[in-house]
Amino acid sequence: MNGYNFAYLDEQTKRMIRRSLLKAVAIPGHQIPFGSREMPLPYGWGTGGIQVTAAVLGADDTLKVIDQGADDTTNAVSIRRFFARTAGVATTTHTAEATIIQTRHRIPEEPLREDQIIVYQVPQPEPLSKLEPSRAETKRMHGLSEYGLMHVKLYEDITRYGHVSISYDYPVMVNGRYLMAPSPIPAFDNPKMDMMPALQLFGAGREKRLYAVPPYTKVASLDFDDHPFRTTRAPQVCGLCGSGVSYLDEVVTDDKGGRLFVCSDTDYCETRRAEGHAGTELAA
């Protein structure tokens, strides 16, 4: 596109982001500060993710962007179109065809491969932020690996509710060293991060932090020995494709209590339907 550098950001900015990304990959789970730029979309819409994507994007890449698992929501459509126009790269909605996947709130159901990069949009990179408001103090806690406070939060949850009540952005230990916020993905997706073959990059634009999980790195969700980490999922099957294992969205269909459970990963659902699977909603 005329008047813009490849992938919108100027080369110096992209080099700066790549340098921070190299540090982030070298220290898995550790937050690296970077000079976050103003982007042509509001904070909270993925300014961190979009900068990371711009920095790692090459002309021969194929980009997929998802928001809550869906390829067709406003955020996903506008970021995909942004890179199609400013970088001229190929875009896709198929997980298997993509080389870079920028995501908000989900990890695709289909397992990722070594030749893929997943970029997470992160609103709050500091996993301890709700427990310890001081940045200086949380930096010290990370430096000394003092994470007892996070377990106090889990203790309180089990005491009050009988189970850990964190359902998204569930804190993880990366490579046995750094406590990390996995971005607001459901706890259901946490196990997918463990030993993932793909490179995982995290960008927080407003908070100006980057972090990363290199391929095949141990990622463990925090828990107690006698209250092990468990994922939760709506007990229904997908109304469109009949999947009983995917993460589901609950859609209210009328004002008489009607609801429909469908896969939140639209590509997964469409692929299954193309393969001939059908849920109760389509059969009817």
Binding site: L144, G148, Y155
Partner: protein
């Protein structure tokens, strides 16, 4: 210093501008011993406590601590992670105001269990059982384990703070006016509790107080401070019954006898 000294300070000096907070202070503490630092407000008691516990650096002088392996470590030359680890496990600090130490939005059980979790305990049932056992030790009903500290009375808060501090079985506890701000009957009960816990568990205590009655009840030895200088020290009964220094005589004679 002796072979079995737990904590030893030599030649501590600290000035805040024109004010001398510590002037050539020496002190020794043996395992299981309770040392009271007494003196009026502004005499440098709390400053000494902070310097001994590594929370504040002296301008000159050294503080030695014998770690559980028998090695002598210089408290102020320690790397920060080691000092923090010491404060989490082998040492405890009881503040005058329990709200400074407790997490008011976390249940009593969580407050007591925090140090265990910081040390790596990862079994919910064990942490909870330990917390309940400690609440009972400090005479708080076991069924208050899930209550928030803000529903506790002042004396209970102080006892909860003591449970939270002692849960890791520290060898040395620093106490800054532990009975300050409590009414007399609650004070008496708390002193009784501290005395029996310290005896039974063999904890060494450095106790700062302006109340000579507290020192007499708890301490084996007393150090009297005036304007940053230790003017008199010795066995508690000896110092309080037969004060030699004029300032100590003044302190002892100014106590109202009921």
């Amino acid at each position: 210093m002796n072979d079995d000294t737990l904590l030893s300070a030599r030649g501590l000096n600290l000035r805040f501008g024109a004010v001398t907070a510590l002037d050539q202070v020496d002190c020794d503490l043996w395992p299981g011993e309770v040392l009271a630092i007494v003196g009026e407000s502004g005499s440098g008691k709390t400053t000494l406590l902070n310097v001994l516990s590594g929370r504040m650096a002296p301008q000159s002088g050294v503080v030695w601590y014998r770690d559980p392996n028998g090695h002598l470590v210089d408290v102020h030359a320690m790397p920060a992670p080691a000092l923090r680890a010491l404060h989490r496990s082998d040492w405890g600090f009881v503040h005058q105001n329990p709200r400074d130490n407790l997490r008011m939005g976390v249940t009593a059980g969580g407050n007591v269990g925090e140090r265990l979790m910081a040390q790596g305990s990862r079994h919910y049932g064990n942490i909870r059982a330990e917390a309940i056992a400690w609440l009972e030790q400090v005479e708080i009903d076991a069924d208050r384990v899930d209550h928030l500290p803000r529903t506790f009375s002042g004396g209970m808060l102080q006892r909860l703070q003591i449970a939270r501090t002692l849960v890791t079985h520290p060898r040395l506890v620093f106490m800054d006016e532990p009975t300050g701000g409590l009414d007399v009957s609650v004070q008496a009960r708390l002193l009784d509790l501290i005395r029996s816990l310290v005896r039974r568990l063999g904890i060494a205590v450095v106790l700062v107080t302006h109340d000579l009655a507290v020192a007499r009840l708890l301490a084996h030895r007393v150090m009297v401070m005036q304007r940053g200088v230790v003017v008199e020290s010795g066995l508690t009964d000896q110092v309080l019954d037969d004060p030699q220094h004029p300032y100590t005589q003044l302190l002892v004679s100014s106590v109202l006898s009921a």
